[in-house]
């Protein structure tokens, strides 16, 4: 694991295939004039197909903002984001909505599920919104992999936190999106459930070729990823390939100092 330069070059993702998601010179400013906060200050980063990447950084480093901008949930002040060949930074709200619907999957920290829908209905919801037929074989396989077979008819309130997150993972994976964004997916889980969910994410990247981008502040969670990028004060400051919990923790400690 080489010491990477502070201004890590994003082009070095290692494979020949074009990146699934690419951000260039992203700037996001909140507020105006004197009270302005630069949440993102010129971030350029690429994410390769089938890679499981973790975005880390201390609170207020801009990691959630980066994810929101990459996923088309938030607008950017300047810079560009590409999903595949589509530049999403220029899109209108309606086009962004369709883009999220058809090409992106989401897993949030909590309130991931609609309380009035059963686990199965929650998993199938994005497909319903998009009026997409789901592939029953893929549905069965994903449900089996995340181990929800006997809980499908339950309402979220009857599921444990870990089960709820597994439903969210299944939902995000079912549509075969180009990229899955996970925002602190294990933040509310105990370590065993968290490990399960992270295992699914890693497996889906390795076995299904699913691109996953995860925001987290937990070094153990980050260690499941293939690569970790570090943010501080809205800038990309470091990155690690093939991380372990210890290496991630080291880098974090370095960042804080």
């Amino acid at each position: 694991m080489s010491q990477s330069a502070a201004q890590a070059a994003p082009e070095q993702s290692g494979t020949g295939t074009p990146p699934v998601v690419a951000a260039r010179d992203l700037v996001k400013v909140y507020g105006r004039a004197d009270s302005a906060v630069r949440a993102l200050d010129g971030v350029s980063v690429e994410f390769a197909r089938g890679a499981f990447t973790a975005i880390m950084g201390p609170s207020g480093s801009g990691k959630s903002t980066l994810m929101h901008c990459l996923a088309g949930l938030d607008t950017v002040t300047s810079g560009t984001v590409h999903l595949g060949r589509t530049e999403i930074t220029g899109l209108r709200d309606k086009q962004l909505t369709l883009l999220r619907r058809d090409r992106i999957g989401f897993i949030f920290q909590s309130f991931n599920l609609l309380p009035m829908l059963t686990a199965e209905q929650n998993i199938l919801l994005p497909g319903r919104i998009a009026k997409r037929r789901h592939d029953p074989a893929r549905f069965r396989r994903i449900v089996e992999v995340v181990g929800l077979g006997d809980r499908l008819g339950h309402l979220p309130s009857a599921l444990s936190g870990g089960q709820q997150q597994r439903v969210a993972v299944a939902r995000a994976l079912l549509g075969d999106p180009e990229v899955v964004y996970a925002d602190e997916p294990t933040g509310n889980l105990d370590s065993r459930s968290g490990a399960e969910v992270l295992g699914f994410l890693r497996d889906s990247a390795r076995e299904l070729g699913q691109t996953v981008i995860m925001v987290t502040h937990d070094p153990v969670a980050a260690s499941y990823a293939d690569r970790v990028v570090f943010l501080r004060d809205g800038r990309l400051v470091d990155e690690v390939h093939g991380p372990t919990a210890e290496t991630v923790l080291d880098r974090l400690v370095n960042l804080e100092s």
């Binding site: 309606k94 909505t97 949030f108 909590s110 609609l114 309380p115 209905q121 919104i129």
Partner: protein, 837 residues
């Protein structure tokens, strides 16, 4: 603690705006009604006091209906030293003819005298001054279209036509019979000639300079003699004001009833809002408990919040109510004949206080249960973080189902009982009671009903698309909330539908009665006077001779001489065989109408029962000349006043002097309507006081009256519906706030803004439809039960078109209710909602 409450109110004021509006609207109705009726009463009083107080002394006959004050009393009163001036008022029948030469109204117009000394003055033009002049009451002028300067014809006591120049219009205001009879005013001498009245209806006098009123009254009373009543002008004014005030009171009572419905609906809306707010603020309450607030303080804080909201909204409602009352008076003054639409609005402290108290008390009362629930939030709830958004009720319990399954059949049983209640009143009370039981049943079963209704439409909504599918799921997630919101609408829908059913049943019953009792095209009757003169025989003869008529039946009646309602009525129908002419006969119990020939009669069933008569029995007819023996040929049931129906020949022999009372005319087949009309009017041309009613016109009048009443009732109940729609909008808005996070999640997953909005539109429409349909169901059932209890032989009719209209209105209401909540939901920023928890 109060400071916390107020701070909380400021923070959540958006959530309480619609609730405040609901209260304000209810209070507005209450205060508006009170201000309106106070103003109306005051304006009535002003008017009668103004006219009566012009006089110091008024002499009235003791028997106000028939009696008069003898003419010579006037001269004696004038001679009294205590009296300066005095005038007698002559009053009697003076049939005014309209521009077509027919007498106006079914009762002859009142003829009165006015002179230099009169309680009334001209509202327009001048009082009559010469024998050929007359002034018309404003009501008569608007009924006939006569204006100042026109020439009007009035019939004299001998039936002769006299022409007068209209010099002015007089506003008689609330004077009891002028409002429906109308009036023509003449100079005193002409009034005597035109009415043929013997005495005076009233003597008005002004006391001499310096004589106290009471002294003048005593002096007049000494000469007026027995059979008269002597009052001061003020006393007369007060008496008239009381009568007019009673009118205003009846109106106010009716309006207040509707206001009460609005307040009730507002109470339901308030209750729901507070219940939702308390549920949403569980953690807030728990936090208060954690930092040391005792249960009572939490309870008090919710009650205090209700108090503040209730007071503020009630104050707003009182202000709006004053405006409403003033506007209502300005608009309604003409219709109500107050004649003083410009009068100042009367604002009594009662109107303000009752409005404030009603609104505040309703709010407080409605917030009590939610406040109790807030009290029972454990401090630990503050620490609980639920991963699932709030707002999921427990499944509605078995208890509800059990209670409802007792209440609803009980209500049905009471309705069933009401059918044999004996009297219409008892039946109506039973139906009202059953209605309340059913309403409680619906309230209890509400959550179950909502669940069932949503479950029923779910498959359809799922098939329609993702927005409607989500809406169906949302509507089911908190059935209790949804049920309370919809029940507010159910109240209005039940009452409106119930009234619509009663109205439509009355209309169809009326139509049927008209067909049954007047299977004729025209009916001719005399004007209603004390003597009730008969219709000259020549009229029927002329009608029969006209080629346009097919059947002309004349009815004559007489009594056995017993005074009052116990009299036995004898009638005959001349002009057609009895079995055809006696259209009022519904059923022949025994014998055959066709067998009624000279020497025999038909009798009504209840008379036959009372007298123990059967076919073949002898029956005695009492005539002024003695008794006559006849034989019963038929026992019938008929909707008519007569007890005994005789053959024309027998009747003529028994009561030789009796003329025709009612003539029914059936047009010949193929006769043109206009020609038939001309023939009928030609036959009565020489008898202007005869009333000609076309059955088509009567039908139209009935329909107009019922239609107007229906519109008025719907308008009054409309406010309750508006309040209920506010309630649904509010419930939805609060749900949207609660589901911000969910909305963001849906948007992140690619639900378009329009789809999110559509979801809420579906939800609102669904709630409104459930509320309206339950109301329509209840309304049809109890409208039928009430109408059936109140009217005999009711023909039940469901106004399908109107009900379809209500359903359409419910959909529109849902669309309206969803406007603000759905905008709010669609506008929420995804990232902000995801960041906040």
């Amino acid at each position: 603690m109060l400071r916390t409450t107020l701070a909380g109110l400021r923070l959540h004021k958006g959530r309480l705006v619609t609730t405040a509006l609901a209260i304000a609207l209810g209070v507005m109705f209450v205060t508006g009604t009170l201000v309106f009726s106070d103003t109306l009463r005051a304006s009535f009083a002003d008017q009668v006091m103004g006219s009566a107080e012009k006089m110091d002394v008024v002499v009235l006959p003791e028997d106000e209906r028939r009696g008069t004050v003898p003419r010579d009393v006037l001269a004696e009163v004038r001679d009294l030293p205590e009296i300066d001036r005095a005038a007698g008022v002559t009053a009697g029948d003076a049939p005014l003819l309209d521009k077509d030469g027919r007498a106006v109204g079914s009762v002859p117009t009142l003829g009165v005298s006015v002179g230099d000394l009169s309680r009334y003055s001209a509202a327009e033009g001048e009082l009559p001054d010469a024998p050929g002049e007359a002034a018309l009451a404003t009501v008569s002028a608007s009924a006939t279209g006569y204006k100042v300067g026109d020439t009007a014809t009035v019939l004299g006591p001998d039936g002769g036509k006299h022409e007068f120049t209209v010099t002015g219009l007089i506003d008689f205001g609330t004077a009891a019979d002028v409002s429906f009879r109308g009036a023509v005013a003449f100079t005193p001498q002409t009034a005597v000639e035109m009415t043929g009245a013997e005495g005076f209806a009233e003597i008005d006098a002004v006391a001499a300079e310096g004589v106290p009123r009471q002294q003048a009254v005593d002096a007049v009373a000494a000469v007026a003699g027995s059979g008269t009543e002597v009052l001061t002008g003020r006393e007369l004014g007060e008496r008239l004001a009381d009568q007019a005030g009673a009118q205003a009171d009846v109106l106010a009572a009716g309006l207040l009833l509707f206001a009460l419905v609005s307040v009730l609906v507002a109470a339901i809306v308030i209750h729901n809002t507070f219940a939702i707010l308390v549920a949403q603020r569980q953690r807030e309450m728990a936090l208060l408990r954690c930092v040391g607030a005792v249960r009572r303080q939490v309870f008090t804080s919710v009650v205090a919040e209700a108090l503040v909201v209730g007071l503020a909204a009630s104050a707003l409602g009182v202000l709006a109510g004053i405006g409403l009352g003033a506007a209502g008076f300005a608009l309604g003054a003409d219709a109500l004949n107050t004649g003083a639409s410009g009068a100042a609005v009367v604002l009594q402290p009662g109107a303000v206080l009752i409005g404030l108290a009603a609104g505040t008390a309703t709010t407080l009362f409605s917030a009590l249960l939610p406040a109790r629930r807030a009290m029972s939030v454990p401090p630990l709830a503050a620490l609980r973080t639920s991963a699932v958004a709030a707002g999921l009720d427990r499944r509605p319990g078995l208890l509800r189902a059990a209670a409802a399954s007792v209440l609803l059949p009980a209500s049905a049983a009471v309705v069933f009982l009401s059918r044999d209640a004996g009297s219409p009143q008892a039946g109506l009370y039973l139906v009202a009671g059953a209605g309340m039981v059913a309403f409680v049943g619906v309230v209890v079963a509400g959550p179950l009903l909502v669940r069932a209704a949503v479950a029923a439409v779910s498959p359809l909504m799922r098939a329609l698309g993702v927005s409607s599918a989500l809406a169906a799921d949302n509507a089911r997630r908190s059935p209790r909330r949804a049920a309370t919101a919809t029940i507010a609408l159910t109240v209005g829908a039940t009452l409106i539908t119930g009234y619509a059913v009663i109205n439509s049943s009355m209309m169809s019953t009326m139509n049927d009665l008209l067909d049954e009792q007047f299977p004729a095209d025209y009916q001719i009757t005399g004007q209603f006077t004390d003597e009730n003169p008969a219709i000259p025989r020549q009229v029927a003869r002329d009608l029969r001779a006209a080629p346009e008529t097919a059947q002309v039946v004349a009815q004559r009646s007489a009594t056995d001489g017993t005074p009052g309602p116990d009299a036995t009525w004898y009638s005959t129908l001349d002009g057609a065989p009895l079995e055809e002419a006696a259209s009022a006969v519904r059923q022949e119990r025994a014998g055959d109408l066709a067998d009624v020939r000279p020497g025999s009669v038909a009798v009504q069933a209840d008379y036959a029962n009372a007298e123990g008569l059967g076919v073949g029995d002898p029956v005695t007819v009492k005539t002024p000349d003695g008794e006559r023996g006849l034989e019963v040929a038929a026992v019938v049931e008929a909707a008519a006043v007569w007890s005994v129906l005789m053959a024309p020949e027998d009747f003529a022999a028994a009561f030789p002097g009796k003329g025709d009372e009612i003539i029914s005319v059936v047009g010949a087949e193929g006769a043109e309507a206009a020609k038939l009309r001309d023939a009928v009017y030609a036959a009565v041309e020489d008898h202007p006081t005869l009333q000609v009613d076309s059955v088509a016109q009567m039908r139209k009048q009935f329909e107009d009256v019922l239609g107007t009443a229906f519109l008025a009732v719907v308008a009054m109940l409309g406010l309750a519906v508006v309040i209920a729609v506010f309630g649904i909008a509010n419930t939805l808005a609060l749900s949207v706030l609660e589901r911000t996070r969910e909305s963001a999640l849906l948007r992140a997953m690619g639900l378009k803004r329009a789809q999110l909005r559509l979801m809420l539109v579906w939800e609102a429409v669904l709630l409104c439809l459930i509320g309206a349909l339950v109301g329509i169901g209840l309304g049809v059932s109890f409208g039928w039960a009430a109408a059936d209890a109140a009217f005999e032989d009711l023909i039940f009719s469901v106004p399908i078109a109107q009900i379809a209209g209500f359903v359409g209105a419910a959909v529109a209401a849902g669309l309206l209710a969803s406007v603000l909540p759905s905008r709010r939901a669609a506008r929420t920023s995804i990232t902000a909602a995801l960041a906040s928890e």
